[in-house]
Structures are given as C-alpha cells and as structure tokens.
C-alpha cells in the first residue's frame, strides 16, 4: 500500500510569504498528525485530527498557522505569513485509531524561509 504522501518535499520562500503543505494519509487511517521538526530536535506536535475534527491544536500558533482536513482524508497545513523561525521540516503522520497504534510518517516537507 502507498505510504503517507506529502508535498512539496522542499520549499524555499522569503519571509512574509505564504506557504502550504499537503498530506495524503494511508487509506483508512482516521487519525492524522502534523509535527514540526527543527534541525537537531525531536518532532513537536502541531495538531491532531480524528477524522475531520481537530482534537488537539493546543500547540498550533494560531496567529499564523492554520490547518484543515476536509472530508477526514487529505490535510493541508498553511503558514501565513512565514517567519524566519518557521524554517523546519513539517511531518505528517497517520494511524488507524489513536491509543497504542503505530504512527506512519511521511517523508516530510522541508521549509526554508529566507
């Protein structure tokens, strides 16, 4: 089966520009996560969806970040406007249900803000 698909893999933008990342989870996975990974650090949770509902967005900087998961399948993470400190890898992961099930990660989208 296809894994978690993310695009774009790489994005370079200037500060104050908008950027969007897309994630297609594994078919049938109802739980979707967006993580941010700074260089040399562990992933930090931004938002978690159960189907189309955001059940944990406490770590999402809502002044500039937004996310949606229409129809409980694909998801988009947007940053507007981007700041220098947003340079990171944005990881999407999915799993069948929450609990002890294993998250499957995509390859990530590397953002560089100049």
């Amino acid at each position: 089966e296809a894994g978690v698909v993310q695009s774009p893999r790489y994005k370079i933008i200037e500060k104050k520009q908008p950027v969007a990342f897309w994630c297609n989870p594994i078919s049938g996975h109802n739980t979707l996560y967006w993580y941010r990974q700074n260089l040399g650090q562990g992933p930090e949770l931004l938002i978690r969806y159960e189907n189309e509902e955001a059940v944990d967005d406490s770590q999402l900087p809502k002044d500039r970040f937004s996310a949606e998961r229409l129809k409980g399948v694909d998801s988009t993470l947007k940053i507007q406007p981007a700041e220098l400190g947003d340079s990171a890898v944005y990881l999407c992961a999915s799993t069948v249900i929450s609990g002890a099930n294993v998250l499957t990660f995509g390859a990530g989208s590397r953002l560089t803000v100049l």
Binding site: G42, R48, A93, A100, L103
Partner: protein
C-alpha cells in the same frame, strides 16, 4: 505533563559491539512507549513499542528495548551494531488516555567499522 528525555545527543559504537541508546520518560498512568529511527532526509520509521506484558520488547532490524517501570526507562539495545544502524533515534511516549505522542530530542548513533 508527559515528557521524554534522551540524555545522550550522540552515541559512538564500533561495529560488532553492543549498543544502548537511553530513554527516560514521565507520564501519568501506564505509558505506551515507542522507538523510531530517522535516516537522512527521510521520515521516521517505527522500530518497536511497549504497551504491556513482557518488559523486553523485540523489534525490527534486531533491535530490542527494555521497559523498567521503577526507573521509568525504556532503553534501546542491540547485541551487535552494524554500520548501517547509523541514524537518528527517537524515543516517544503516549499516555494511555490521550492521543498525543511526545518525542525525545533524539540521539545520533554512529557505528564505525
């Protein structure tokens, strides 16, 4: 609040020697514990998990981990390291009531021939 600590930024091992990557955690209730590996420019790959039962968990690529409740630790081990094991390793914890998976800072494993 949940937390995970990986006290070593880097672990260096000679090929063929045993390796240990350390992890301690803090969580309310019984934890679900995971190890993931990340190769350069790749996403995280699952290695193994502990939910309940036997404290020694076996996973992919010959890795295993030992759950120690009294020491709140979940160290990753392998009896004989390979050069191809060189990568970034992350420990993660989830409490058994919520869905938030918290990662440690990561440990870079370097295996030299």
């Amino acid at each position: 609040a949940q937390s995970v600590a990986q006290p070593e930024d880097q672990v260096n091992v000679a090929e063929g020697n045993p390796l240990t990557v350390k992890c301690t955690y803090s969580v309310s209730g019984n934890p679900y514990l995971f190890w993931y590996v990340q190769y350069p420019n790749r996403g995280l790959q699952f290695l193994l998990k502990y939910i309940t039962g036997d404290n020694l968990v076996k996973g992919s690529y010959g890795f295993e981990a030992e759950f120690n409740k009294s020491q709140t630790s979940f160290h990753l081990k392998k009896p004989s390291a390979l050069v191809s094991d060189s990568a970034l390793y992350f420990c993660a914890v989830k409490d058994n009531q919520g869905g938030k998976l918290i990662f440690g800072q990561g440990t870079e494993l370097s295996v030299k021939p």
